[in-house]
Amino acid sequence: MTNVKSRGAVWLERLAPAGAPFLPLIDSVKAVEQDGAIYVAVVPDPNNHYPRARTGEVGLLEGWTLAKTISTIVKEDADKAEKRPIVAIVDVTSQAYGRREEAFGIHQALAGSVAAYAKAREAGHPIVSLIVGKAMSGAFLAHGYQANRILALDDPKVLIHAMGKESAARITLRSVAELDKFAAKVPPMAYDIKHYAELGLLEKLLKVSSADDPSEEDVKQAADEIAAAIQKAKESPRDLRNRLCSPNRKATSEVRRLVKEAW
């Protein structure tokens, strides 16, 4: 039976072909160190210990393993002046949905990962996310959203959102067609990367010849952009204020300004 690699796995391999495994703990979280940077991806594991986390979801073990991986990097570099960059390769279909997940506290597991990434960023590790596939809700919050800079492939299968379309339709009591209609005039509601790029959250959109099977040029382009983003992160404040530059997010800047004024 052929095992089709996920995009996350493919891009991890292509970006860090000579990388050494960094703290391999479980098959669904792959971390690789190459040229002083650590690349991290969450990938499908059909043999995952938790049955509801077998197709690339961020579940209980993934959340805590990401936390372990990132916090280990921070600990190892604690006394170093130069902190190793961390590249999160993001292709996560969702958080894991299941009874064990809720009962055993998946919300806490994902918080573990969020805290580790945020603390790494604050400690001075430049963190860059490269979205190559799906970046959905809790999974993206836990793996990718705490980066200094976010890059994404300009590809129709790159989708970012808070909830899958069918579920979102059901919960908002609209049809999928209606949601698509609203998304056309309400950019934050759209799933595709072109609309997402209008929100001012992305550093750059990368046009590639093939997102599923990247060419050498594609990989080089991505590697160069990642390096540039790392450099920018090093030269900028460690918070997330670089995400405030789009007219589509101007209400956020307004709120920040007005709250500070009234404080």
């Binding site: 073990l61 958080q95 809720e102 918080a111 809700s137 705490q146 908002t172 709250v259």
Partner: protein, 279 residues
Amino acid sequence: MHNKESFIELGARQRAKAILDSGSFREILGPFDGVESPWLEPQGIVPQSDDGMVIAKGTIQGKDAVVVAIEGSFQGGSMGEVSGAKMATAIDLAAEDCLAGKPTIVVLCLETGGVRLQEANLGLASIADIHAAIVRAREVTPVIGVIAGTVGCFGGMSIAAALCSYLVVTKEARLGLNGPQVIEQEAGIREYNSKDKPFIWQMTGGEVRSRCGFVDKLVKDDVPEIKKAVEECAEKGVPEHFRTGCIDYFLETLSSYDTAEQAQPGTAEKLYEGGFKHD
């Protein structure tokens, strides 16, 4: 005759007033400042003047504090661009004050289903901002989450709750990542029956979360009790450890659990018997 003052029945504004010292409440960006969601009217949805988020500065036992309270009755307490920005900014400014020598306690009243789907990606981005703000602020000041119900705390905001220094919950509250309907839709009714209320509370209710160690205080739905619980947490100051730092413990415990078994009521309590251990 019960003389109980229900906290659950209070709206966000009254909850903030109840937690702060009497007379110290001062709202920031309130109903009269006209900062609403720019995204709801184009979709034919009626906005609320404060976008369902109340920022109130004041004091708690005489010490400077800010209470940020979500209005659970407006769009299910869901996080939009403006409401999310209000919370993130308030937490950031409190942290800045602490670093400038003006200690400010942060209290978050979390009554939310998560991202407001009508603002999807901006709601999600604002939650990422809130996460960053809590991780930063909790190093210098207690960040106290209060989940009372009836909405509970779900979605990306359940992660925010899990980042807090302390959590105060009632037994009516729920704290979970995914809403019951979404789990049922994704995983099937046998995995998760969204209509079985006792079951849902046995999985994610305040009592079970307390027994397992995911929250710090389980209190009655009573204003003086909740106020006292918040004050006690504030008095503890910045904790030595956070739950997010129990990484090895959770990895070991969750790896060793036999997943051939489905989780039943009582499973989580048994799994976490003895309490979480810090790295």
